[in-house]
C-alpha cells in the first residue's frame, strides 16, 4: 500500500509544475500590458517603465517563471490589478464560499443520486426505475444556469421564499446548491443503477441470498460495496465538472466565490487573479483525483497491485 501511495503522490508535484508553467505561459500571452493597467490610464511612460521593473516584466521569461514559482511555493501569487490586494488574500476571502457551495451541492447530489440509483436497480423495470432514469437523463441534459434562472424566478421573484442573490444565510445556499447538484446527481444515479445491476447478478450475491441474509444486508453490504468502484470514480472525476459549473452558477446568484472572481478577473484582464484561481482549481482537481485513486486502492486491493 505504501508503494502504491508514494507512486501516486509523487506524480502530484510534477503535474502541478507542468500546469503552473502552462498557466504562466498562457497568462503572459494575454493581450494588453499588465504594467500599464496597474500604473493606471493617466500614467506616464516612466511610471509604466517603473512598474515593469517592479513587476519583474523586463526580465527573461524563464526568470519571471522562476520568481512566480518561488512566490507560489511561499504562498504568494502576486497582486490583483483590480483590487490592489494580494491575490492569495482575495482567494482566501472567496474560497470558503465556493467550498461550502461545492460541498452542499455534492451532498445533495450524493443523497439523491445514490438513493435513486439503488432503488432503481432493486426495482428494475418498475415505474420508479423508469421515472428515475428519465429524470436522470433530463437532469444530465439541462444547462445548470438555465435551471438556476428558472428557480430564481419561481422561488425568489414570484414566491419570495428564498433570497434573490448573495450568501447571507442558510436559505441562500438552497437554490445554488440544488441547481449545481442536479447534473452530478443525474450522473451518480445512472452510474449507481448500472453498477448495482452488474453486481446483483454475480454469484456472491446469490450466495448471500441463499445464506438467508435480509434484503437490506444483501443490497447494501454485498451489492453496493462491490458496485462502489465505478461510483467512487464518477463521484471523484465529476468534482472538476462541479467546480467548472460553479463558475457559472456563482455568476447567476452573485455568489462571492472564486468562480465569480475568475469571471470578473477575465473582464478586468486581472492577470494575477486569473493565474491564481486557475492554479487553485487545478490543484483541487488533481488532489481529488489522487484521493479517488487512493480510495479505490482501499476499496479494491487488486487495483494497488496492477
Amino acid at each position: 500500500m505504501l508503494t502504491y501511495l508514494s507512486r501516486k503522490v509523487a506524480t502530484l508535484p510534477l503535474i502541478l509544475l507542468a500546469v503552473s508553467f502552462l498557466i504562466f505561459t498562457a497568462v503572459r500571452m494575454l493581450p494588453g500590458d499588465p504594467a500599464r493597467v496597474m500604473a493606471g490610464p493617466q500614467a506616464t511612460q516612466d511610471a509604466v517603465n517603473d512598474m515593469h521593473e517592479r513587476l519583474g516584466l523586463n526580465r527573461p521569461f524563464l526568470a519571471q517563471y522562476g520568481i512566480f514559482l518561488a512566490g507560489a511555493v511561499r504562498g504568494s501569487l502576486g497582486e490583483s490589478l483590480h483590487s490592489k490586494l494580494p491575490v492569495t488574500r482575495d482567494i482566501a476571502e472567496r474560497f470558503p464560499y465556493t467550498a461550502a457551495l461545492a460541498l452542499t451541492s455534492y451532498l445533495f447530489a450524493l443523497i439523491i443520486g445514490l438513493s435513486a440509483g439503488i432503488f432503481a436497480a432493486i426495482y428494475r423495470g418498475s415505474w420508479f426505475d423508469h421515472t428515475a432514469m428519465i429524470l436522470a437523463i433530463v437532469g444530465a441534459s439541462i444547462a445548470n444556469f438555465w435551471l438556476a434562472l428558472m428557480a430564481l424566478n419561481l422561488f425568489s421573484v414570484q414566491l419570495g421564499w428564498l433570497p434573490l442573490l448573495g450568501a447571507d444565510s442558510w436559505k441562500s445556499y438552497v437554490l445554488p446548491s440544488v441547481t449545481l447538484g442536479v447534473l452530478p446527481a443525474a450522473l451518480i444515479a445512472r452510474m449507481t443503477r448500472a453498477s448495482m445491476l452488474e453486481s446483483i447478478n454475480q454469484d456472491f450475491v446469490r450466495t448471500a441470498r441463499a445464506k438467508g441474509l435480509s434484503s437490506s444486508t444483501v443490497y447494501l453490504k454485498h451489492t453496493l460495496r462491490n458496485a462502489l468502484i465505478p461510483i467512487v470514480t464518477i463521484v471523484g472525476l465529476n468534482f472538476g465538472g462541479l467546480l467548472g459549473g460553479a463558475v457559472i452558477t456563482e455568476t447567476v446568484f452573485n455568489w462571492p466565490g472564486i468562480g465569480r472572481l475568475l469571471v470578473d478577473a477575465v473582464r478586468f484582464r486581472d492577470y494575477a487573479v486569473i493565474q491564481g484561481v486557475t492554479l487553485l482549481t487545478v490543484l483541487i482537481v488533481v488532489s481529488i483525483n489522487l484521493l479517488v485513486d487512493l480510495l479505490l486502492g482501499v476499496i479494491d486491493p487488486r487495483i494497488r497491485f496492477e
Binding site: 503535474i15 498562457a26 444547462a143 444556469f145 434562472l149 428558472m150 472538476g240 455568476t251 477575465v266 484582464r269
Partner: protein, 290 residues
Amino acid sequence: MNSAATERPGGARRKRPGLLRRYPNLTIGGAMTLLVLLLGVFAPLLTRYDPYLQDLSQNLQPPSAAHLFGTDEYGRDLLTRVLYGARLSLLEVALSVSLALVIGVPLGLVAGYFGRGVDQVITWCSDILYAFPGIVLAILIVSILGPSLINMLIAISIFAVPGYIRLTRNLTLSLKELQYTEAARSLGASVPRLLFLHILRNALAPVLVQASLTAGEVILTAAGLSFLGLGVQPPTAEWGAMMSEGRNYLGVATHLSLFPGLAITFAVLGLNLLGDGLRDQLDPRFRGRT
C-alpha cells in the same frame, strides 16, 4: 417474407416489436436530433421574421399568436431567434467535435502504436489538460484569444481532445496486437496505412460513440461561455447569449430565458439519448443492460 413479422412454429404470425421498442434511446434521440437539424436548416422558411431586425414598438411582448415565443427587448421575434440559434448550436457541435477528433484521434493512434517515449509524452500532455476543469480551461483560452465564436470553438475542442487521445490510445494498444494487424504488417503495409486503414477502421465505432456523447456537452459549454459573455457576442442569435440578455428581465419577461433554455435542453437531451442508443448498439458491454 415480411421483415416486420416472424413465423411462429404453430403458424401464427407474431409482429416484431417496432423500432421504438427495440431501440428506444436511438429512435427517440435520433428523431429529436433530426428535428433540431431540420428546424435549424429550414429556419428561414419556417418564419417570416428577421432574427436581427429591431422593432422597438413590439419589445418584450409576451407569447401570442403573432409571436409564439414572444419578443425580446429590441422587439425581435424570439421563436425566430431560437430557430436560428439551433443552426449555430449544430454548427458549434459539428466544428468543435470535428476539430477535437482531428487532433485527438491521430495523437491517440500514434501514442498507442509506438508506445515508449512517444506514448509517455502524449499521455503526459493529455493528463495535464485533463487536470483543468473543462470550462476553466475554456475561459483561460478564450481570455487569451478574445471572445468570439471561432475562439470559443477552439477552446471547447482543446478541452475535448484528451478524451479522444485516451480512448484511441487504449483501443490502439489492443488492436495492434490482433492477428489482422500482424498480417497486414507482415505483408509490408506502411505505418500510416496500418494506423488509418486497419486500426482506425476498427476503432471507429467507440470513437463515434464518444463523439455523440460529447456533442451535448459542447452545446452546454458553448451556451455557458456565451452566457458569461465569453463566447458568441450579441446580437448573434445564440441560445446562451439570449439567456444572458433575458436574465435582466427575470420576473418581467421570463420568456426571454425560458425558451432558449428549453431549446438547449431539447437539443442536448436528443444528443444524449442518441449517444446512449449508439453506445448500447455498438459497445457489446452495454448491450441488454437497460
